[in-house]
């Protein structure tokens, strides 16, 4: 049975001075990470956003030492691009920048008046009981590479799936010299082909 969870996070941005309220619902789908890839003049930038559940199995704020360790280990994984993405050797890419951190969804949420709608699949083995005050959390990693041969960047593999068993799918958007495109990768088809 697929344990893909779909839920919506309600993010309320209160604008106190204007006494005007903006309600904005962002989509957040468990099991699905998004990746953005841009290539220009030998520069390759890869941005990854993954739901916390996919990576560490929970999205509440890490409070116990175990949870904190898990988050720290995950961030360490993200800081090692080779375990997340594989680039063709022929392209000769060198890492120039790497950044990884955890976005938690519960900043500025002291009002306590936001909707929180969880739609859990059966067989859910994570404990979301402590999730009451928090929204969803996302891991965000970005990499920048300098490549010798941009034209050799024809495929990008994602060993990412092997690392994080809860990750089911990656929605990729890319822009290269030949245009923009999108692709869906899954754990059994974890390679992106760039035209």
């Amino acid at each position: 049975m697929t344990r893909t969870l779909t839920s919506l996070a309600a993010i309320c941005l209160a604008l106190p001075a204007a006494a005007q309220e903006t309600r904005d619902l962002g989509a957040h789908e468990h099991g699905v990470s998004t990746v953005e890839i841009a290539v220009e003049n030998g520069m390759l930038e890869i941005d990854i956003l993954s739901p916390g559940v996919d990576i560490v199995g929970f999205e509440y704020e890490a409070s116990t030492p175990e949870d904190k360790d898990a988050v720290e280990a995950a961030i360490r994984q993200f800081l090692d691009p080779e375990s997340i993405v594989t680039l063709p050797d022929a392209a000769g890419c060198r890492l120039t920048e790497v950044l990884a951190h955890l976005h938690t969804g519960d900043h500025d949420h002291d009002e306590g008046d936001h909707d929180h709608d969880h739609d859990h699949a059966e067989g859910e083995d994570h404990d979301h009981a402590e999730d009451e005050s928090g929204g969803h959390s996302e891991f965000h990693a970005s990499y920048a590479f300098a490549c010798e041969d941009e034209a050799a960047l024809t495929t990008i593999g994602f060993p990412f799936f092997e690392l994080f068993g809860n990750a089911r799918e990656i929605d990729v958007q890319y822009v290269t010299a030949s245009g923009a495109g999108a692709a869906e990768l899954a754990s059994d088809a974890a390679e992106l082909t760039l035209e």
Binding site: L13, A38, E40, E45, D47, T176, A180, G181, A182
Partner: protein, 416 residues
């Protein structure tokens, strides 16, 4: 030797064989034509916009935004306020930004308000610029530049007056402020051909006397007064953006999509197109399925033809056997005949396809804006042809095996 025999045997039954070959040829031509139209339509859509990194509109679906802003299909759910537009235009990452304003029409054609930047930055078919064949661009407030198809359909020349209608398919006209055809854009094969382009200020100008969708009563504001007015629009429909660097596209997209003051949507045209193909994919597969079934039907017809020919050829087969041909030779002969028929059918199919393309290409381009390139058969097409020939050989195995088993006894027996 056996090839010559097979060929001669086919020639001996020229009529039935000819019909079978024709059936295969037509089915192959249909299949390949469906492929051509499918890939041609995709390429045509993809060619409509190039060089634009982001399209911004009111928040809706990315496919919807792409369709109404670029292809003039459907309508915008909402506008972008001029203030938000200024905010986006002020970003450092932006190389150029071109606002567009839709909503009015002229006869069956849409009117688009934009700036002269549109002619400068809009690219199609892999980077080609719009060319104004006759006349000039938007110089005066009441100048209109029309697409090639607008000019051809309505018989307009440079200098002709144009009255813009309020809304699409409406009976109210902005007849107090007529436009003048200033230029005609060379044919592009894109929706620009079917568009009347005016300046953004002109769209504002023709709505000066309009409030909440209706003309305010009383005498219209004189044109000279309108020319003195500040014609900065309050809102636009969408904007096309070119970036300084591709690396900043996703960053700006995120900034626009989370712009707090107004719900906006920024899309990458290529990505939205791919989403569109995913939706269209089901219909596409159905089309392919139907054309595959047509090929299968033609092959079944061939099989039936071989089966019935076995009956008339029982003597022939028996004589082969009597003269020392092994059953395998008979089997080989029949399979070879089928493969030959399929090969001839496939070749004829290609001739029909390319002949048809040569004849229909200009017409399809003019009528549907769909450019079907005449190119050397792609690897994919050759694979299809090989598959058809292989399938024919496979299909002929059934009657061939029957001949293999029966050739001697059946032919020798005298039937009454």
């Amino acid at each position: 030797m056996i090839l010559r025999l097979a060929f001669a045997s086919l020639m001996a039954r020229a009529l039935t064989v000819g019909m079978t070959i024709l059936a295969i040829a037509l089915s192959v031509a249909l299949f390949l034509a469906v492929e051509k139209v499918r890939t041609g339509a995709k390429a045509s859509f993809a060619d409509t916009i190039s060089g634009t990194d982001l399209i911004v509109g009111a928040r809706s679906g990315s496919v919807q935004l792409l369709l109404y802003s670029v292809f003039r299909i459907g309508n915008a759910t909402n506008n972008i306020s001029w203030q938000s537009y200024r905010d986006i235009a002020g970003r450092d990452e932006i190389d150029w930004i071109v606002p567009i304003s839709l909503g009015d029409s002229h006869r069956q054609f849409r009117v688009m308000g934009t700036t002269s930047g549109f002619f400068e930055h809009y690219r199609y078919r892999g980077g080609r610029m719009l060319e104004i064949g006759q006349g000039h661009g938007l110089d005066d407030l009441y100048d209109a530049v029309i697409g090639a198809e607008v000019a051809a359909t309505l018989g307009y020349d440079v200098g002709d007056p144009i009255i813009v209608s309020h809304g699409v398919a409406s009976f109210t006209h902005h007849d107090d402020q007529p436009f003048r055809v200033a230029g005609i854009v060379e044919r592009t094969g894109t929706p620009v051909d079917r568009t009347v382009i005016v300046s953004l200020e002109a769209i504002e100008a023709i709505h000066v006397d309009w409030q909440t969708g209706a003309r305010t009563p009383g005498a219209p504001t004189p044109v000279d007064d309108i020319r003195q007015m500040d014609l900065t629009p309050d809102a636009i429909t969408a904007a096309l953006i070119g970036m300084n660097s591709r690396l900043q596209i996703f960053g700006l997209q995120r900034w626009i999509n989370t712009y707090p003051e107004e719900p906006l949507l920024a899309i990458l045209p290529g990505v939205a197109l791919q989403e569109l193909w995913q939706i269209v994919g089901i219909a596409e597969r159905a089309l392919i399925g139907v054309s595959v079934m047509v090929v299968v039907t033609a092959l079944l017809g061939m099989m039936a033809m071989i089966f019935s020919s076995l009956d008339e050829r029982r003597r022939e087969m028996a004589i082969w056997r009597a003269m020392g041909a092994r059953p395998v030779t008979i089997l080989g002969l029949l399979v070879l005949e089928a493969a030959l028929m399929a090969a001839l059918g496939a070749a004829l199919g290609m001739v029909i396809l390319y002949g048809g393309l040569v004849v229909a290409q200009p017409w399809i381009d003019a009528a549907y804006g769909l450019w079907l390139p005449i190119s050397v058969p792609s690897a994919r097409e050759l694979v299809v042809l090989a598959l058809v020939i292989g399938a024919a050989a496979l299909a002929s195995l059934l009657p061939a095996l029957r001949a293999y088993r029966l050739s001697l006894a059946d032919g020798m027996m005298v039937r009454t």
